[in-house]
Amino acid sequence: MVQLFHIYKQYDRESTALSDINLRFEKGEFVFVTGPSGAGKTTLLKLIFREELPSRGQILVAGRNIAMIQLHKLFRLRRNIGVVFQDFRLLKRRTVLENIAFALQVVGCPARLQKQRAFSVLKMVGLQHKMQSYPLQLSGGEQQRVAIARALVNEPPILLADEPTGNLDPELSQEIMRLFSDINAHGTTVVVATHNREIIRSMGKRTVTLERGRLVEDSHHSTEAP
């Protein structure tokens, strides 16, 4: 589903965010990407949904080199990847329900279905009572759950989540992970970047560990970097 070949990412001459990363995420797989802060977890996810381009190397999503996708066709890739951003990235001028419905609107979902589906996903993350609130009226954890709901609403084949439990208490974190598991059980490839070892242990899924931009461990595969 997602293949990374010799990926390097440099922001400037001194700092290398990722170095020679080779990875393959299969269709329907659940993978954790872990490592300390600054290990390159967020960068790795950003490269997969092409928020950024690698300095070197190739990334294939569903067999397609995403660097070759023209700007005006990029939406096709993005519609196939649901992303939970670390900083939530919610539309501040729209209510919680509108934020989720908006993700449906941009893909052309009929207006009468938008709010209906948005509400049901909001219910899944337990925030239906906040549907008329604006993002800035919510706590960090609540905003995170809205971001999760937005990423899930289109039922994308790939779900990328960057520290999705970073602002949640342990109980809610487990709840969200169960939600991801359910989605994964329906065939969605889930890639979660987290440094929460507790969650990784409890889920027992494949874990890719990064350190200073290098792949140091892949729990289901042999380590490709020293």
Binding site: L71, H72, R76, R78, F85, R89, L91, V106, G108, A111
Partner: protein, 300 residues
């Protein structure tokens, strides 16, 4: 494929953005209004001056003098040629006797002079009243054409002042085109920058839209509509402004001097010219927003 839902969204976003950034948008609206109003003033001046000039054309004395002893058939041919021309409103044949009579009436003091010559020295002629619709070039070629006829001895067509009038009208047009062009460019530049500022203020929103899979068209459409709306509203305001100026002129300036009132019968711009100001405004707005939207969406 653009759905009705997307169109509704784009218009709704455009109106919201117009209202949200109203101070900035007022600036571009004022620039468009003023530049289109100035262009409109020149169009208006040119249109009215041409109308006046056309009415004056009727008074240009155009007389074809005939040679002596011209055959009736030649006179009939000339009459036919003149009356069949769309440039000619009316023709009248003046016999030598009638010409003499007029001379004696108009110049009574010199009436004896005509008698002293003995024989009637006045030639027959055709007096032509020109239609107001013809161009100066067409009139000139008619005169040249008729002049070539064997029965015509001379032509009286005082066109020197008409040429000067033409030159003045051309000058008004050129100044209008130049000034209007400069102001239109300034407006396009202003709209482009205002839309760019509006886009920058929505940068975060645009990035999110792109990340959730919105097409570039979906993101850009509201800004394009906003630009076109600004242009349209600018055009509308400029027409209102122009109308107010014309009304004020008619109500307050014209009565001061009856000569002005008698010389200038002001008419507002014709419908097509008014529509072209509105359409021009929309196109200006669209061009201004296209130049910004393309760049900034790429930056995102």
């Amino acid at each position: 494929m653009i759905s009705l839902q997307d169109v509704r969204y784009s218009f709704s976003e455009a109106f919201h953005s117009l209202w949200r950034s109203r101070t900035r948008n007022l600036l571009s609206l004022a620039t468009i209004s003023i530049s289109l109003a100035v262009t409109g003033v020149f169009m208006f001046a040119s249109f009215n001056a041409r109308a006046v000039a056309r009415s004056w054309v009727r008074d240009i004395p155009l007389v074809f003098f005939l040679k002596d002893d011209v055959a009736e058939a030649d006179i009939a041919a000339l009459r036919e040629k003149l009356s069949s021309s769309p440039l000619v409103e009316q023709t009248s044949y003046v016999t030598p006797v009638e010409a003499l009579r007029r001379f004696k009436t108009y110049y009574a003091r010199f009436a004896d002079l005509a008698s002293d010559v003995g024989e009637n020295a006045f030639p027959a002629s055709f007096e032509v009243k020109l239609a107001t619709t013809g161009s100066r070039g067409a009139m000139q070629s008619l005169v040249e054409d008729v002049k070539q006829m064997s029965c015509v001895s001379d032509v009286q067509f005082d066109e020197a002042w008409a040429k000067r009038l033409d030159a003045t009208l051309l000058l008004i047009d050129l100044i209008g085109i130049f000034l209007g062009g400069v102001l239109v460019l300034a407006s396009v530049f202003t709209i482009s920058n205002v839309i760019r500022l509006n886009i920058y203020s929505c940068q975060e929103e645009i990035e999110i839209m792109m990340l959730v899979g919105a097409t570039l068209g979906f993101i850009r459409a509201p800004f394009l509509i906003e630009g076109a709306l600004q242009g349209f509203l600018g055009g509308l305001f400029s027409l209102g402004l122009l109308y107010a100026v014309v009304k004020a002129f008619i109500l307050y300036v014209a009565p001061i001097d009856p000569l002005i009132a008698s010389l200038v019968r002001l008419n507002f711009l014709p419908l097509m010219a008014s529509l072209s100001i509105l359409g021009g405004g929309m196109i200006m707005g669209l061009i201004g927003s296209i130049t910004s939207v393309g760049k900034v969406a790429r930056d995102s």
